[in-house]
């Protein structure tokens, strides 16, 4: 019974941790969308900024990966 309770908590916790991935998805979308908006206003300057775009996406994405990691730890390590 107690083991089942712990498993229940694990699954609920892993599911809750995945909400964080949605937040990171919004962040990545925001970065990419704003880049596109800026790039369409000044296409000649866009080419030099793709590195910045990917760095921004990587930073926004890292936090989503952290919550994914928490979910994985709950499922397989705890």
């Amino acid at each position: 019974m107690e083991g089942e309770l712990i498993a229940l908590g694990k699954f609920i916790g892993a599911g809750l941790a995945c909400i964080g991935m949605g937040g990171s998805a919004m962040g990545v979308g925001n970065v990419a969308g704003n880049f596109l908006a800026g790039a369409l206003r000044n296409p000649s300057a866009a080419g030099g900024q793709t590195a910045t775009l990917f760095i921004g996406i990587a930073f926004a994405e890292a936090l989503g990966i952290f919550s994914f990691l928490v979910a994985l730890l709950l499922m397989f390590a705890v």
Binding site: A51, F54, I55, I57, A58, E61, A62, I65, F66, F68, L69, L72, M75, F76
Partner: protein
């Protein structure tokens, strides 16, 4: 996701592909055990050596296909190092290029069916990320001495704010190797697990009698996710490399 990971119906567990197994019998994995991880890392290294040795053997003015690929990769990373980290970072180019080619080849070879992806393991990526972290920190202190700590002291901010910012900067500096390694491993692991979940979903739908019409949809989904994974495999290698360049730039020019 329509299937849950621990449901009884799944033909195989989506995380089974990440198990490190000894190649030549036995169950225990020691320090010197040859495992499937060793095999696939060796295959990537051999493929890299083959590409660059064969590619640069001819040194033709009109390059062959192999030489074009080798030159393209070299020029791509060289330009990235120069643009992002500055001209004086070019002496670190061999290190960064090694990281880039190893990650690209591991990621792409890991996409072959039945293959093992070394970069999906945090142990592998953490070694690379900690290596980058130590290199960057040592280079910063060797080049600038105590002035390197100016990276944490934001002199453009108002004075009362600076200790708070310094704390945040120090934390973000030490989180770097963590996020650097987990980003790559997490992306690889998540992508491969998604492919496997869809792959297990296809026969499940067929057996459960939902209808033969749904199975092609599932296979289409695998194909689409696979195409996405090819993109992700390259982008993550690119991101890892470009972040290395950014960290290197911080060490060489710590002015805030």
């Amino acid at each position: 996701m329509a299937t849950e990971e621990h449901s009884e119906g799944l033909a195989f567990h989506p995380m089974d592909q990440f198990i490190v197994k000894p190649l030549f019998g036995g169950d225990t994995v020691g320090v010197l055990t040859v495992t499937n991880a060793t095999l696939w890392m060796a295959i990537s290294v051999l493929a890299i050596i083959a590409l660059f040795v064969l590619g640069t053997r001819g040194r033709a003015v009109i390059p062959s296909r192999t030489q074009s690929v080798a030159e393209l990769a070299y020029g791509f990373v060289h330009k990235m190092v120069e643009d992002v980290a500055g001209h004086d970072a070019v002496k670190f180019f061999p290190y960064i290029f090694t990281l880039f080619t190893f990650i690209v080849f591991s990621n792409f070879l890991g996409l072959l069916p039945k293959a093992f992806t070394p970069t999906s393991h945090i142990a592998v990526t953490a070694v690379m990320a900690v290596g980058v972290f130590l290199t960057v920190t040592i280079v910063g202190f060797v080049k600038h001495g105590v002035h390197f700590l100016g990276l944490f002291w934001v002199s453009s901010a108002p004075l009362p704010l600076r200790p708070v910012l310094a704390l945040i900067e120090v934390i973000s500096y030490f989180v770097r190797p963590v996020s650097h390694s987990i980003r790559l491993a997490g992306n690889m692991m998540a992508g491969h697990a998604v492919i496997k979940v869809f792959a297990a979903f296809a026969p499940l739908v067929l057996i459960s009698g939902v209808g033969i019409a749904v199975t092609p949809l599932s296979i289409l989904a695998i194909t689409a996710i696979y195409a996405l994974e090819i993109l992700v495999a390259f982008i993550q290698a690119y991101v890892f490399t470009i972040l290395t360049c950014v960290y290197l730039k911080d060490a060489l020019h710590p002015a805030h």
